[in-house]
């Protein structure tokens, strides 16, 4: 853009890239530049074309038109191996490590050096791995199995692996989706260190706070086009949101109008492997937040309530039942449904269509004359598609083809179709773009305010908790360490209870 930009040749220059898929223009004349050592934030809603662009950069896709230059040299043909050799590494959200191998083995996988006997040179591997990790400012045993590491540590391994291949351009695809705040700080430290060494970063994220913290320049995409690029410091949060969604979002949280009714859930003295002595109350029409650091027992609490994990309670009264549910099946039958943390692994049948996903938990309602009726199913599912505003070409579209937000709405529709009057939602907006987040918030608020559904919401995003909840429980190490009502819901209060 700017003529006064870095005098040197950019590390990466993608010019006028276009890519079509049957019926869709995924990328329309997109250009991107990255200077050496620069940290560029790439933002945009799901479906904006960010991942397609990165797949072209990684060599997984080939552009229909446009040019790609690395360090001033044109790259006429791409392939994943070629791009890796030329110093481009992409670190995906779902880390691609061999869990049963050691840290060092993962770093040098496929390139394990041999000693003069032709055997694997373990000493050298471990020493080299240790020095790479040290360069990142971390302390990890190169002999440790990857399965024993935290998500953040695994990310370090991925980055070390990229560095061992002399990566000069690193793409981080939503690294924060799986990281806690402390872990994220460490990641930022690494980014800072490496960019000072001249490694360029393309940082993809949904979380705008991070964009402001880490990036020097931001490039916004929407509908396959570049909306604009500017030094991050010159942008405000509102600018970014407006560029991303194409409209002003003064507040992404809906106005709540809580009319709480009778108690729908009351548990005292809940115990299991991960939890001790938890007591929870939820009224109808109330949204109750569960906060805490990763590992505090938030998801475990939801799983205990819906019978997914075995637990005991001194006293339990859930939707009229006077005991904990023995299984998720019994829980659903009792009107309590779980929207699980990991949508693709626990919530969705990705290889099946939308209708299948919505109707599966209450097939009884579409039985006519003893058999499942496609007609009845179409009616029920179509109703949910319009009620929750699920964007899909049709109810027989594969769930895998939907965007994250719409997939999440399908899982929600499944629970509502099973006539749940108490919803346990675990990270309902994880990996979902801002526009879809807003819609999910609206849906949840409507369910609580208009239909009197009780909602228990786990989230690691405090603004979301504060924006949505009537009351919040804070957990730490499997114990309850605080309870706040709307009037004293502040980040400080919550963080204090979660960490003190």
């Amino acid at each position: 853009m700017d003529a006064t930009n870095k005098s040197a040749v950019p590390a990466l220059r993608m010019t006028n890239i276009s890519k079509r898929f049957p019926g869709v223009i995924a990328l329309d004349d997109v250009s991107l530049e990255l200077a050496e050592g620069e940290v560029l934030a790439l933002v945009g809603e799901n479906g904006a074309g960010k991942s397609t662009l990165m797949k072209i950069l990684s060599g997984a896709y080939r552009a229909d038109s446009g040019r790609l230059e690395l360090f001033g040299k044109p790259v006429p043909f791409t392939s994943p191996l070629l791009m890796m050799r030329m110093g481009v590494a992409i670190i995906y959200q779902e880390l691609l490590l061999a869990k049963d191998l050691s840290v060092a083995e993962n770093i040098f996988l496929g390139r394990l050096p041999k000693n003069r006997w032709g055997l694997t040179d373990w000493q050298r591997i471990n020493a080299d791995a240790a020095s790479l990790i040290e360069r990142l400012g971390f302390d990890l045993d190169p002999r440790a199995k990857v399965s024993s590491l935290s998500v953040a540590q695994r990310q370090v391994v991925e980055i070390a692996k990229a560095l061992s291949q002399n990566a000069r351009i690193l793409v981080l695809d939503e690294p924060s989706a799986v990281l806690g705040d402390a872990e994220l700080a460490k990641l930022f430290e690494i980014i800072g260190r490496l960019s000072a060494e001249g490694v360029g970063f393309i940082y993809i994220s949904h979380r705008l706070e991070e964009v402001f913290t880490i990036s020097e320049r931001t490039l916004v995409m929407r509908d396959g086009k570049v909306v604009g690029t500017a030094p991050t410091a010159s942008l405000t949060r509102n600018d970014l949101v407006r560029m991303m969604v194409g409209r002003e979002l003064s507040d992404i949280y809906p106005t709540r109008n809580p009319k709480t009714g009778p108690l729908v859930l009351e548990i005292e003295g809940l115990h299991n492997e991960a939890l001790s002595d938890i007591s929870v109350k939820v009224h109808s029409g109330e949204i109750v937040g569960i906060c805490g650091m990763a590992g505090a027992g938030r998801s475990e609490l939801l799983r205990a309530i819906c019978g997914a994990d075995p637990s005991t309670a001194a006293r339990a009264s859930i939707n009229g039942a006077n005991a904990l549910f023995p299984s998720p099946g019994k829980s659903l039958a009792g009107g309590v449904g779980l929207l699980p943390e990991d949508r693709r692994k626990q919530g969705l049948f990705v290889s099946q269509d939308v209708a299948f996903n919505v109707s599966i938990a209450n097939l009884g309602s579409i039985v006519r004359n003893g058999l499942l009726s496609r007609g009845a199913e179409r009616k029920v599912v179509t109703d949910f598609v319009s009620r929750l505003r699920i964007k899909t070409p049709g109810i027989s579209e594969k769930a895998a083809n939907l965007s994250g937000g719409n997939q999440q709405k399908c899982v929600l529709a499944k629970l509502l179709n099973a006539e749940c009057s108490l919803l346990l939602v675990d990270e309902p907006t994880r990996g979902v773009d801002i526009g879809a987040k807003r819609e999910i918030y609206q849906v949840l608020a409507d369910l609580a305010d208009k239909e009197g559904i009780g909602i228990v919401m786990v989230s690691s995003e405090l603004p979301e908790i504060i924006g949505m909840c009537d009351r919040v429980y804070v957990l730490r190490g499997g114990r309850q360490t605080g309870e706040f009502t709307r009037s004293d819901l502040t980040e400080e209060n919550i963080m204090h209870a979660a960490t003190a």
Binding site: P22, K330, K345, S396
Partner: protein
């Protein structure tokens, strides 16, 4: 020009959807096309192929392998596998012949035979769900054990069914409306299997468990019960095949059904059922059975040696699976 394009765009979206639906249908339709082409080739290569006697033989072949394969389709849809079907056939064959020779009433023998197959399938299911043994290992174990059991109770010899035994031969040899009874049984199993998979809660749950067992569990599906169900069905249909075998040959052989499990898996997979679970169905399996039967028939008519035939069959399995894998990758 460009304005026109804009105006048309919602339609082109429709067109795209229509194309998708078409390509969906082509997956099943393509299979049918393969069968059609094979049939035409068979008719061209050999005059004997279209001979009604030969065609009935092909149908009988489709029926025998098809019935077991439908059981396996249920199992494979849950991302499982059942290697024991061939051995279940053997045990039930020996048992059926012995019971017939003991003079038990034919309907009673049939009932006991089917119940025995179902029970053996249930045992597989119990090992897989309660003890959580991987399906491959559990059914490999019962495959070997049941073969041994069949050989033990028959003393390793075929058990001839005495000529004095009442009217049971109709199952394997009789015909109605010009088609063998076995073919009608196959058609009945196919229709019931299709209805169960597509129009019952159990059928939906089978697909759910195969696509994502964790999500199925959290959606309130009793995953264990579904798995017990599919292995029981697989055992039951193996027993049904066995009864037809015995009736046709008047002998209960402890070596009956050797290699049948592989044939049945091949048929399911050629028919488009994914070994990863959740994809496929009965119609594909029926066509898969027909493809393999027609192919075997062509090779017999042309005089290709049974040894070479095995090479061809193996190659077809690999081609079928690689086409599935390639489809998934896209």
């Amino acid at each position: 020009m460009s304005e026109q394009q804009v105006a048309v765009s919602p339609n082109s979206n429709n067109g795209q959807r229509w194309m998708q639906g078409l390509s969906h249908r082509l997956a099943a339709g393509g299979l049918f096309l393969v069968l059609l082409v094979l049939t035409v080739i068979a008719a061209l290569i050999s005059d004997a192929f279209l001979n009604p006697f030969n065609l009935v033989n092909v149908l009988r072949q489709i029926a025998l392998y098809g019935i077991v394969s439908m059981g396996l389709t249920f199992v494979i849809l849950t991302a499982g596998i059942d290697l024991s079907v061939g051995s279940i056939v053997a045990v039930v064959a020996v048992l059926t012949a012995m019971l017939l020779n003991m003079g038990l009433a034919v309907p009673l023998v049939l009932l006991v035979a089917l119940a025995c197959g179902a029970a053996l399938g249930l045992v597989n299911g119990i090992g897989i769900t309660l003890i959580k043994i991987p399906p491959f290992i559990m059914t490999l174990g019962t495959m070997v054990m049941l073969r041994g059991l069949a050989l033990t109770i028959s003393d390793g010899r075929p058990i001839d069914v005495a000529s004095t035994v009442g009217n049971y031969a109709w199952i394997g040899r009789g015909s109605a409306l010009g088609l063998p009874i076995a073919v009608w049984i196959f058609a009945g199993v196919a229709v019931i299997g299709f209805v169960v998979l597509s129009f019952t809660r159990f059928g939906r749950n089978v697909y759910a468990v195969g696509s994502n067992p964790e999500a199925a569990h959290l959606s309130g599906i009793n995953v264990r019960r579904v798995l017990l169900g599919v292995y029981t069905i697989s055992g039951l249909l193996a027993a049904l095949t066995s009864v037809i075998f015995v009736s046709r040959l008047s002998v209960g052989e402890p070596t009956a059904g050797t290699g049948l499990e592989l044939e049945a898996i091949a048929i399911s997979v050629i028919g488009g059922t994914s070994l990863f679970g959740g994809q496929g169905g009965i119609v594909g399996t029926a066509i898969g059975a027909a493809i393999l039967a027609v192919l075997a028939n062509i090779m017999n008519l042309v005089g290709i040696s049974p040894f070479t035939q095995q090479i061809v069959k193996g190659a077809i399995i690999i081609v079928a699976v690689s086409s599935e894998v390639l489809r998934r990758r896209r």
